[in-house]
Amino acid sequence: MGSIITIARRELSTFYDSMIAYMLLGGFLALCGFFTWLYGGFFGRDVFFSGQASIAPFFGAAVVLLWIFIAALSMKLFAEETKTGTLELLLTKPVTDWQVVMGKFLACVSLIFVALLCSLPYYFTVAWLGPVDHGAVWCGYLGLLLVGSTYAAIGIMCSSLTDNQIVAFLLTIIVGIIFLFIFSLLSAYTSGMAAKLFDYLSILTHYSSIARGVVDSKDIIYFLSIIGFCLMSTVTVLSRRKIAD
């Protein structure tokens, strides 16, 4: 556990030292604010034009914005280290491949956690303006944390597949598009078992059910299994170097 935290702390200090964290936090909060207060029509009803105290647009916007920001955050995690060779040095330290992957994942998740904490003032102001279903909001935050962690795991996996950060970024975006939109579209255009399957695979299905305030173990298992699969794939990709052929 100590090594995981050491690695996570190094990653976090890199995020903060290199302005990446501030740019992402600032961008995320600004855009979320924009959609929540002014242009919510895209994701629901915003506060100003509908004249209703609703935080729904925030949750609608955040789930998409997180996807882009996390792709930008995670793209360097393995791609850059592979390219510069620091990954080799790291893996010859007394740590396992798992600890390296978990450390980087933990760094991402903590940054997402900070981003979500920073967005709490939106919730408080909306709650001050009018009645809000507090239970649903906290569930929404849990949903965002789960979705964010899932994006991070996908991003880490994509980053381990290449030594080019741009390729890693685009791969993450593409996988995100598939999980966010393509599966929902497919389920709308198919019927029967196929529709059910695509509906189950879509991130939005599970996210919206949590955000409504229904925390079902089925949804949590969905997110955890994607996270588990991606992190396990990353470890497998890392251990490729050890395959004796």
């Binding site: 690695i7 190094r10 890199t14 620091t86 893996l91 007394p94 050890k242 004796a244």
Partner: protein, 308 residues
């Protein structure tokens, strides 16, 4: 901590990068690992440091096998990879703190170890700078400092002096020599004077196999075999001199050099220099130059690594 490499093999597809390599390194010894580019030096080092798994064979470091006890071995190894990869966006001192923590240096000792490394590697003025701002020489010192931070018993250095200027090379060599007296060091290079200056023993590999092994002196002796001298003789007719030199019993071969001097190779394990001097005295020739030709490691290296 001794290192035993036994029948180590690494295949990349059908190509063998390292082929049945076996050798030992003892505590307190600096082993020079020599070979042309692509000979398998780096691959061997990557296997000893548990980064790559071997296709066959085993390495035992202090009695632990790289196949089973990787975490234990990694703890006792300090490694400076080829090209010295570093986190360029970190400050020197933060990077050393990270390296120490991940190597399992106790928190109570970490501060002292970092100070010690900064002193030993001469990084005091640079300790708060970002690594990316440092010159290549200082980066190399940071690379060494991170390899030494946990006071490892085994030190593996892959081309530690590449890209340094002559002064820095001397400094780094001195540092390695100093450290190496109590530890087990494997150092790879293709700079030959470097191994002569630092190493107790040399292994030359080519195509993944050992082609020569021994102390620098032994290897040089092996290479010279026969004595060769460059000799300049004046006041005599060239053809006659050539003829008489050739007739000397201790001389195996005489060659005329383009500058008018003779290159004289003695018979195996004999010296012809006294005979040449006497010959000149007898004939009233003047001997204006006699230079022993030293064969060096470069000849050994070329002999054993160039095919055909």
């Amino acid at each position: 901590m001794d290192i035993q490499v036994q029948n180590l093999t690494k295949k990349y597809g059908r190509q063998k990068a390292v082929d049945q390599l076996s050798f030992d390194v003892r505590t307190g010894e600096i082993l020079g690992f020599l070979g042309p580019n692509g000979a398998g030096k780096t691959t061997t080092m990557k296997m000893i440091t548990c980064f790559l798994a071997p296709s066959d064979g085993d390495v035992s470091v202090g009695g632990f096998s790289i196949l089973k006890d990787q975490q234990k071995i990694k703890r006792s190894i300090g490694y400076l990879p080829e090209h010295n990869p570093l986190y360029l966006d970190m400050a020197v001192i933060d990077y050393l703190r990270f390296s120490g923590a991940i190597q399992g240096v106790k928190k109570s000792q970490l501060g002292d170890r970092i100070k010690e490394m900064i002193r030993v590697c001469g990084l005091n003025k640079e300790k708060h700078k970002k690594i990316g701002e440092l010159s290549k020489g200082f980066r190399q010192r940071v690379g060494l400092a991170q390899a030494l931070i946990h006071d490892p018993e085994v030190l593996i250095l892959d081309e530690p002096t590449t890209g340094l200027d002559p002064n820095q090379i001397v400094e780094i060599r001195e540092l390695i020599k100093h450290i190496g007296s109590q530890k087990t060091v494997i150092l790879s290079t293709h700079i030959l004077p470097e191994v002569e200056a630092t190493c107790d023993r040399i292994i030359i590999i080519n195509n993944g196999k050992i082609v020569a092994e021994g102390t620098p002196e032994n290897l040089r002796k092996e290479a010279s075999g026969t004595e060769i001298s460059h000799v300049r003789i004046e006041d005599g007719e060239r053809d006659a001199v050539f003829q008489r030199l050739q007739e000397l019993e201790t001389v195996a071969m005489v060659d005329l050099l383009p500058n008018g001097a003779f290159s004289i190779e003695s018979q195996l394990e004999q010296t012809s220099r006294r005979d040449i001097f006497r010959l000149c005295v007898e004939n009233g020739w003047v001997l204006t130059e006699m230079t022993p030709v030293e064969r060096d490691l470069e000849d050994v290296f070329r002999n054993v690594t160039i095919e055909n």
